[in-house]
Amino acid sequence: MVAALTRLFGVHNLALAEDVVQDAFCRALEVWRFRGVPDNPSAWLMTTAKNRAIDLLRRERTARTFAPELGRLLESEWTLVPMVEELLGPSAVKDDLLRMMFSCCHPRLTEDAQVALVLHILCGFSVAEVAGAFLSTEVATAKRISRAKKVLGKSRRLFDLAEADVAARLSAVQRALYLLFNEGYHGASPESAVRVELCGEALRLVTLLVDHPSTGTAATQALAAVMCLHAARLPARVDASGNLSSLYDQDRSRWDFGLVAEGQRLLELSARGSELTEYHLEAAIAALHAEASRPEDTNWRQIVALYDRLLDVRPSPVVALNRAIAVAQHEGPERGLEEIRAIASLNRLASYPFYAAALGELELRCGRAAVAGEHFQTAIALSRNAMERRFFERRLALCCGESVKP
């Protein structure tokens, strides 16, 4: 909604667009508390936002300039309402999302700032949630977002895909969507480790990218493949009692094989040509998992090889950790622990609960239950939501030989 309104008002009036959305939301909550939530809340919100937009345009059109390319059409009373209807209609909104995504990825912003903006404006992440996605602090993130908005405000119109050079901005857009998906699949939110809606949104947005000729590159297809293959596992990722289930414990019959097939199809498409991006590698790893009907059938050797290459392309402590875990699967837990100890910038993982949990897991497999228990205690202390905490508590219980509570 913010994207569509920004097209209407012009990028320099982004704050106004956000106000209109915020306002519509406030009013909705006030009315709904008395009369109950309507059957179609988003239609209600859209109508409210539309009406406020029309009021605002009427009142302010002499005082402000709105979207430059729409100029005349907004000034005349004859065309004002139909124009608003069209611009806030369903098909226009889709394109505006793409335009907004690309506008956020402004070249004068760092990639991280671009991503923060997309997450905040387009996906509605709060500052705390954006901070969680980057493993950064709220204060630093708030500064980054407000500075980025100022830069964005200086441009006059939304990015036009038909005209401009898309390639430069595409990687930032891809990264933003990747982080969005990741936050839904494996997130740091205090409500829940898994938020299926975010994965759905990321998939929806990446599909827009795949479908559009200028943006449907091999890398985009690979990214879409990663998302499909991970999303396929979502039905099994949270079990019937609302508990997190790891890759090794999941009931694989509950995987969405339609999505697996779609992911494999996209992976194949993305393999034409010579580009080999981190998304290709991640998709290939995910495909190998998807092909194994049981964890013990997984081709760990191949997976380690792929992680080796991924580490070259995208060196990050989390990738290194996942690689070490794969090494442990292939060569045994002691080797896995060796690999973990060899990770560069290990300190960045200090507050990442799954790092502590990985250590715990491997120590447990080496037979050192007491040490494992300590690591799981650390993981519990670092856990960011109830789901994660319960997951680690169950592992801790195994260390102490207690029976696991259902």
Binding site: F25, L29, E30, W32, R33, S126
Partner: protein, 113 residues
Amino acid sequence: MSEFVFLYRGGERPNGSPEQMQQQMQKWMGWMKELADKGLIKDPGHPLERTGKLVTGKQKTVTDGPFAEAKDIIGGYTLVQARDISHAVELSFGCPIFDVGGVVEVRPVMQMG
């Protein structure tokens, strides 16, 4: 049983993160549902816009209004039924407006006879 009107005055307008706002809304709905389940809500009422018009005098002078102090502005109303005013007052205690500095004015509806 007699009828009473709750007039909601003042209180912060909804703001904060979407989650906080939704929480506030759910508190209201929860409170109203409790009363409704006991058959005590005659009309859930409506929220009111903060500004409107004032029409005064024989001349029917129309001015913008009401520009009372924010804490006094009536933001909405609900019609309830209760045994007596003490009971009605008790029923109002669960209203989430108190969390945000608002006031509930409880007024009996004038009965016939």
